[in-house]
Amino acid sequence: MTKEKRQIFVFLIFALALLTIPFLLRESYLLNVLVFIGIHTMLAVALNLLLGYAGQISLGHAAFFGIGAYMSGILTARFALDPWLVIILAAVSAAAIAFIIGFPILKLKGHYLAMATLGFGIIFYIIFNETVGWTGGPSGLSGIPNLQIGGIIFDNDMCNYYLVWIITIAVMLLSINLSQSRIGRALRAVHDSEVAARVMGINAWVLKVQIFTISAFISAIAGSLYAHTMTFISPASFGFNFSVELVTMVVVGGLGSIYGSFLGAAILTVLPEFLRVFEDFDIIIYGLMLILITMFMPGGLISGFQLLAQKVNLKTKGK
């Protein structure tokens, strides 16, 4: 099998497995967890395009997630606009904000970029909290309607599962394609040596703004889906801690690997479910994971899987 065919094969298996899970697993609680894994995967993939490929950190990505969620929530719950239209509107708005803020922010490098995106994220968190008249403030916004198409209302876990995962799988596929194209190479080039990338004719600044914009677009879609599946949102879900959690997902799963983002999202979503008893341990565990993975496994957990797959591959070839 050529490399390309193998990749398509792996993706098909992956997608099929995800789409058949609900038939095997009818327990609502688990499906619910899987819905969250889907939303988190979308967010992690979005952040990975920026952090893992272009090498630019954002500590404010929860803001774009929040913009999607609040725009969908407010415009459908308070103004009864068409939810599907609003999802697109919200994603475009988040992308527009990212595009405008992206030009000055992505002039910054390294730690300065981290601080600026963190500041940006906190400003939005404060806005979500303070504009009580619209967002409901700290006590949250409820009564967000479920999505519906024709007669199907997405108000149960099974429907939401397919809604979220079909979009997530599409996002993953498009991201994989992008990452293997000339644009993906340009992003990785900027990551490895911005100076050399520019000398090769890549407009690093504009490219970073573009990927930041796309990343915000995807994050906002995830936010809208989150609002409609939860039907209730509050600022606590869109704060600094969640931005850090997203970075942790990407780093733990594997910088620059789309499947890695899925793995990271899955682990960080499931972990708190298992560790319910140790609820207070989550922060310290995220910190520890970030440190240990960065120090000892810079390719993330997915690189372990890939090594394993290579070994298996060699063995079967040897036979």
């Binding site: 952090l51 970030l290 120090m295």
Partner: protein, 291 residues
């Protein structure tokens, strides 16, 4: 008028704290090129440790303060030794992630040890306002101003007039050349982490009686200290003091006259504006990045 005076006073004292925290950033940055994301956590550790010794253990004030600074400094050294030194030549993105990891790790540990409650540290010299030239001032404000001035002068003395201080400046200027003349760069880096942890925790201790303390105060204070040092152009000198005071004043006036809810947003909007338009700071000068 009376309000204005109160705003100015609290703005100045918060500003002094921001400047101290900013010093911590500058000292590590100048020695290593790293912006230590965990800087705010040292500040938090100062406040929480002081609270622990003073209130829970019932120790007197001075030993509590000294112990707290010592412990925070040791944490700074361990942090440098375990997480920073092994990654000496890593790409910046890994260093950023490591310091972020360390910062949430320290915060998480503090939460496990001391819980999630917010506490007030008793003021060092009571809560009776003093009347000076017709104006009232809390003794804690005086403490803050005095400690800040003391730290500024002693760091001046240290960096300009002691062998170790000069060696650290040499490392900051050119680590390779410094090591050629026999300066142990690793020790200087470690020293920069310990000094900056010590100053950070001191800042956390003296501000705690005014602003309350809890396991998660580090993010905000750290960011504001960063804001101060950015305005000051990454210096551990007067620029950062000016930056801190400016930030503290604007924030206090904004909170007083515009809206208290947006107080923190003001600091971050200033931070973004400075980063966008004058990343070298109001008081710094531009350099050409080496290719």
């Amino acid at each position: 008028m009376d309000n204005l005076y109160q705003y100015l006073l609290s703005g100045l004292s918060n500003g002094a704290i921001y400047a101290l925290i900013g010093f911590g950033f500058a000292i590590i940055h100048n020695a290593t090129g790293i912006i230590n994301f965990a800087q705010g956590e040292f500040v938090m550790l100062g406040g929480m440790l002081a609270l622990f010794f003073l209130v829970f253990c019932g120790f007197p004030l001075s030993p509590s303060i000294i112990l707290s600074i010592l412990i925070a400094t040791v944490v700074g050294i361990i942090f440098e030794r375990l997480a920073i030194r092994p990654l000496k030549n890593a790409k910046p993105i890994r260093l950023i992630i490591i310091t972020i990891g360390a910062s949430i790790f320290i915060r998480g540990a503090a939460m496990l040890i001391w819980g999630k409650d917010t506490h007030a540290l008793p003021a060092f010299s009571g809560n009776d306002p003093l009347y000076i030239a017709g104006a009232t001032i809390m003794p804690q404000h005086l403490w803050i101003f005095a400690v800040t001035i003391l730290v500024i002068f002693s760091s001046r003395l240290f960096f300009n007039h002691t062998i170790i201080g000069k060696a650290m400046r040499a490392c900051a200027y050119n680590a390779q050349a410094a090591s050629l003349v026999g300066i142990d760069v690793r020790i200087m880096v470690m020293l920069s982490f310990s000094i900056s942890a010590a100053i950070g925790s001191l800042a956390g201790i003296i501000i705690a009686p005014l602003t309350m303390t809890s396991y998660d105060v580090g993010i905000m204070l750290g960011l504001k200290g960063f804001c101060a040092v950015i305005i000051g152009g990454m210096s551990s000198g007067l620029g950062t003091v000016m930056g801190g005071l400016l930030l503290g004043l604007l924030e206090a006036l904004g909170a007083g006259f515009i809206s208290a809810g947006y107080k923190d947003a003001i600091a971050f909007i200033i931070l973004l504006l400075i980063l966008f338009f004058r990343p070298e700071g109001l008081f710094g000068k531009k350099e050409t990045e080496r290719v």
